[in-house]
Amino acid sequence: MSLLLLALGVLVGSGALALLAARTPWASRLGASGAIAGCTLAIIPAVRVLAGSATESLRVGWQVPYGAFFVEIDALSAFFLVPILGLSALVAVYGAEYLAAYREARRLGAAWFFFNLLVATMVLVVVARNTVLFLVAWELMALASFFLVTFEDDQRSVRNAGWIYLVATHLGTACLLALFILLGRTGGSLDFDRLSGAPAPVGLLFLLAVIGFGVKAGFVPFHVWLPEAHPAAPSHVSAVMSGVMIKTGIYGLVRILSFLGPPPAWWGCVLCGVGLTSGILGVLFALAQHDLKRLLAYHSVENIGIIAVGLGVGELGLSTGSAPLAVLGFAGALLHVLNHAIFKGLLFLGAGAVAHATGTREIDNLGGLLKRMPWTGVAFLIGAVAISGLPPLNGFVSEFLIYLGALRGVVSANSTVAVPLLCVIAGLALIGGLAAACFTKAFGMVFLGQPRSEHATHAHEPGLAMRVPMLLLAVSCVVIGCLAPVVGGTLLPVVERASGLPAETVRGVMAAATGPLSFVGAAALGVLLLAALLAGVRHQLLSGRRVEESCTWDCGYARPSPRMQYTAASFAQPLTDLFRLLLQSRHHLVPPVGLFPRQASLTVDTPDVCEARFYTPVFTAIGRGLSALRWLQHGQVHLYVLYIALTLLVLLVWKLG
C-alpha cells in the first residue's frame, strides 16, 4: 500500500514539476519518466494481490464532510490496476516522442501534468473505498482527460468535442451523486464497506448505476461524447482514454452491482440489451467512418458492449442461480476488459503513428503504408486480428468465455433465460463478422495497396520510443491468446470478488472451463505452428524456381493508377447499405454529366444518429424554452418593484389567510 501511495506521489509530483518546467525540454522528460516510475511502482502491489497475497487496505481520517482516505487493493481493483498502469507506462514512453512534434507550438508541461494526473486519478478511482474520495477522483479524472482532449484547443472541432465530453461526463456524475448517497442512506457512513441498497428501490439504483457509469463507459445511447473526444485527443491520450479510462465505468458498475445484492433477471436482460445495442451500433458506425481514429473510437463502444454483454450473462447466471453462467459471464467480461485495453491501446498508438507520419487520419488518403512503416504495420495487423476476436489472439479468448457461458445457459436454462442468451450468441456472431469487415477495411485501406495521396507516399517509420510500446502490446496479444488457460486461472479471485459467489464454486466452474481454454490455447499455438510449417513448405517449393515481379492483374485495363483502388467507403458500402436504416448516412453526389464529364464526386458521411436525432434537438428545445422566459428581466424598474409587492402579498395572503 505504501508503494501505491508513493506511486501516486511520484505521478502528481512529476506532473507538477513538468508544469513548472513547462518552457524547457525538461517538461517531457520529467513528465514521462515520472509516469513510468509511478506506474512501475504501483503495479507491484497490484500484481502481488493478483498473485494471491492478502487484500491491502488503508484507512485514515480526512477533514472533509463524510470523507475518509480509505483505499484498498482487492483482487478486482488489482485486476483493473494492471492494465491501467501497464498501458499508461507504455503510452508515456510513446507520448514522449509523439508530443515532441508539438514542442514549438505548445507548452508540453500542462499536457504532461494532466496526463500524470489522469493516471493517478484512474488509480485512485479503482482503489478508493470512500464515496467522497471516489467522486473527487472520478471528477478529477474527467477534468484531467478533458484538458488532454482539448490539447489542441485552437481547433473548433476539438473545442466542440471537449464541450460534449465535459457535459456528458458531468451529467453522468450527477446520477452517481444520487446513487452513492442513496446507497449510503442507511449505513450512516459513506465508506464502501457500509454502503447497501437496502432501503431505496434497488431497481432505481441499478438504473442510476447503468446510466451514471454507462456515460463514462460509452454505452449506447450515452456514447455520444466518445467518437468526438477520442479522435480529438492526442493519440497517446486516446489510447489511455479508450484503452483504460472508459473501463473505470465498467469497474464502477461491477463494484456497485456487488453492493446491490442478488439481482432480478431483468437486470441481466437490460445489460445484455444495452451491450448488444452498443456492440452492433458501435461496429456499424465504425464501419461507416472514414476517419481512422473515429473508427477506433466507435470500436470502443462496440467492445464496451461486448463487456456489458458478458456482465449481463453473469447477472443472468446469478439471478437464476446457475454458477457456470455467472462465472463464465463475469470471467469473459473481465478478461475482455484486459484484452481490449491491450489491443485498443495498440491500435490507437498505431493510428497515432500513422497520423504522425502522414499528417492525415483520412483513411481514403492513405494506403501502402506497410512498405513504408513495416513495424507499425505488423503491430496494427495483430491488433486488428485481435480486436476482430479471431483466434489465435487474445480477443478470441474472452469472447469464447462469454460464448461458452451463453451456450451453457441455452442448453440448460429455461426458455425465459435462454432467449436473451440466444440473442447474445447471435449478436456476438454478428458483431464479430462486422468487426472483421471493419478491420480488414481499416488495415487494408491504410497499410495495403498503393498510397492514395502525397502524405502517404512520404510516410516514414516512427522512432524507437513509439515503436517499442506498440510491439510490446502486439506481443502480449499473442501471448494471452496462447496462454489462455493460465490467464483463466489468474481470473479466479477477481471473478469471485465480482460475482460474490463462494470461492469453491468459482474454482469448480473455472476448473471446468480451463479444459476448453487449454484447448483454445493449444489450437492457437497449433494454428501458428501450422502456418509456420506451411510457410516453410511454400518456401521450399519456391526456393528453386523463378519468382517474378509484375504489376497487379488489371483485367486488361491499360493504365491502372492508385486512384482506381477500392476506397474504404466503397469497401464498406454493401454493409452500410444493408443497415442504412440504422446509419442514416448522408450522401452528397455530384453526378457525372455529359459525354466527357469534367468532374463527378460522391461523399458519404455518417453523423452519430443519437446525437443528430436526440441530443441536439433536445438541447436546442431547452435553449429555446429558456430564452422564452427571459422577459422576466425586461429592465422596467417599476415592474421589478411589482415583483416584490406581489411576492409579499401572495406570501401574506397564503400564510396568514
Binding site: V64, E139, T150, D154, R159, H170, V641
Partner: protein, 490 residues
Amino acid sequence: MIVIALLAIPTLSGIGAFFMTGDARRRVLLVVAAVLHAGVAAATWIVPPAATAGGWLRLDPLGQLFLSVTSALFLAAALYAVGYLRRERRAAHRDFEEGLLFTNAPEATFTACLLFFLAAMTLVTVSQAFGLLWVAIEATTLASAPLIYFHRQHRSLEATWKYLLICSVGIALALLGNFFLAVAASDHTAVRGAVLLDDLIRGASHLQVAWLKAALLLFLVGYGTKMGLAPLHTWLPDAHSEAPSVVSALLSGALLNCAFLGILRVQQVCAAAGQAEFGQQLYVGFGLLSMAVAAVFIVGQADFKRLLAYSSVEHMGVLMLGVGLGGSGTFGALLHAVNHSLAKAMLFLVAGNILAVYQSKSTADVSGVLRVLPASGILWIAGFFAITGSPPFGPFLSEFTILKAALDHGRDGVAAAYLALLALIFVGMITAGLRMTQGAAADRWTLARPAEPVLAIAPPAALAALVLMLGLYIPPILRRAIEEAAHLLG
C-alpha cells in the same frame, strides 16, 4: 473592545480617506485599514471577544464566520483596488459599449465609500439587536450605491438607481418586519421591549405566533431582496455587471452574505419559538426558485459579468435550500456561503482583468484568454469549475453535503430538482467559460502579450488557493465554527 476596534478601523480610515489628499497615501491607508481589520478579525479566532455596548455588539459564531469571510475578501479587494485605481485613467475616457465620454467619480469618494461599506458590513455581523441589524444593512446599501456609480456613465447610473430603489423598498419592508417582531414580543412581560437577540430567543416561547410569522415573511421579502432571491433579485445582475469588478466582488462575496445573515437571525428566533418548519419550507421554495430563475438567465448569457451575477443568485438559492433542509443542510449552507464568497469574489476580480484587456463584457468578443492572459485564464477556468461545484474545489463538498441532506431527509423530489438545476447551470456556465478561455488569440495580441500586474493576479490567486484548500481539507477550527453556527440555527 475588539468589536469596537473592528468598527472603528474602517470608519475612521474612511473619514480620513475622504478628506485626505494624494492618491498614493490614500491607497496606502486603504491597504493598511484592510490589513488591520483582517488582523483583528483573525485575532477574534484566538481570543473570543467579549460583548460590548450592553450586549448590542457581540461576535457569536455565526457573525464571526461571516465577519472573517468579509474581512478576508476586503483585504483581497483592497490590494486589487490599488492596482485597479492605478490602471484607471483620470481624464475623461471613452465608454467601450456606448462610445460616450465619461469620467470616474473622485477617488477619494470611492475609497471612503469602500471603507464605510466595510464598516457597515462589519456592523451587520456584530450587531445583536434587530433594529441595529436593520440600520446596518440599510447602511450597506447606501455606502455601496456610490461605488456602483464609480464610472459615471449611463448604464452604471441606471444600475445604481435600480439598486437604490429596489433595495430601499425591500429594506423598508424589513423595517416593518422589525415592528411586527416587536409587536409579537409585546405580548408577554418576559419579552416585552426585548431588543437583544438572546432575550428574544430566551423568551421565544412567549412570542405571538401570528405576528412572528408575519414578521418572518416581511424579513424574508425585505432581506431576500437584498440577498437576491428570485423573484426579488432583479437589481442584482445590473448592479454586479455595471459596478467596477472589485466592487462586484465585494457585493457578491460579502454583501449578499450580510443579507443572508439577516434572514438567519430571524430564523434563529423562529426556531427558538418552535416555528422552524414554517420558515424552512419557504426557504426551500425560494431556494429552488432562485436556482431555476438563475438557470434561465445563465444558459446562453452573453455578458460574462451578468453571468457571474446570476450565478450568485443561484448560489443564494443553494444557501436558502440548505437552511431550509435544516440539520446537516444548514452546515452545508454555511460552508457553501464561505466557498461561494471566496470563489465568486475571485471570479469577479479575474473578470476585471479580462475586461481591462479585452474592453468588452460580451463572451462572444472574448476568446483565447489562456493564451493572451495565461494567469488570468487559468484562474478563470479554475474558478468556473469551482463555482459549478466540481472537485477538487470547496463548493463541491458543500453542495454534496446539501444534496445528502435532501436525500437523507427523504426529500427526493427536491434533490432531483436540485441536481437537475445544478447540471443545467453547469452546462450554461461552462459553455461560456470555455468559449472565453480556449481558442486561438486574436491577432492583435500575437505580437505583444498584455502584461499581468502582480496586484491583479495575486489577490484572486490567493482566494483560489483558499477555495482549493477548502475542497481538499477543511481545517478543524473552521469546521467547529461552522458546526457551532449551524447549532445556533437549531
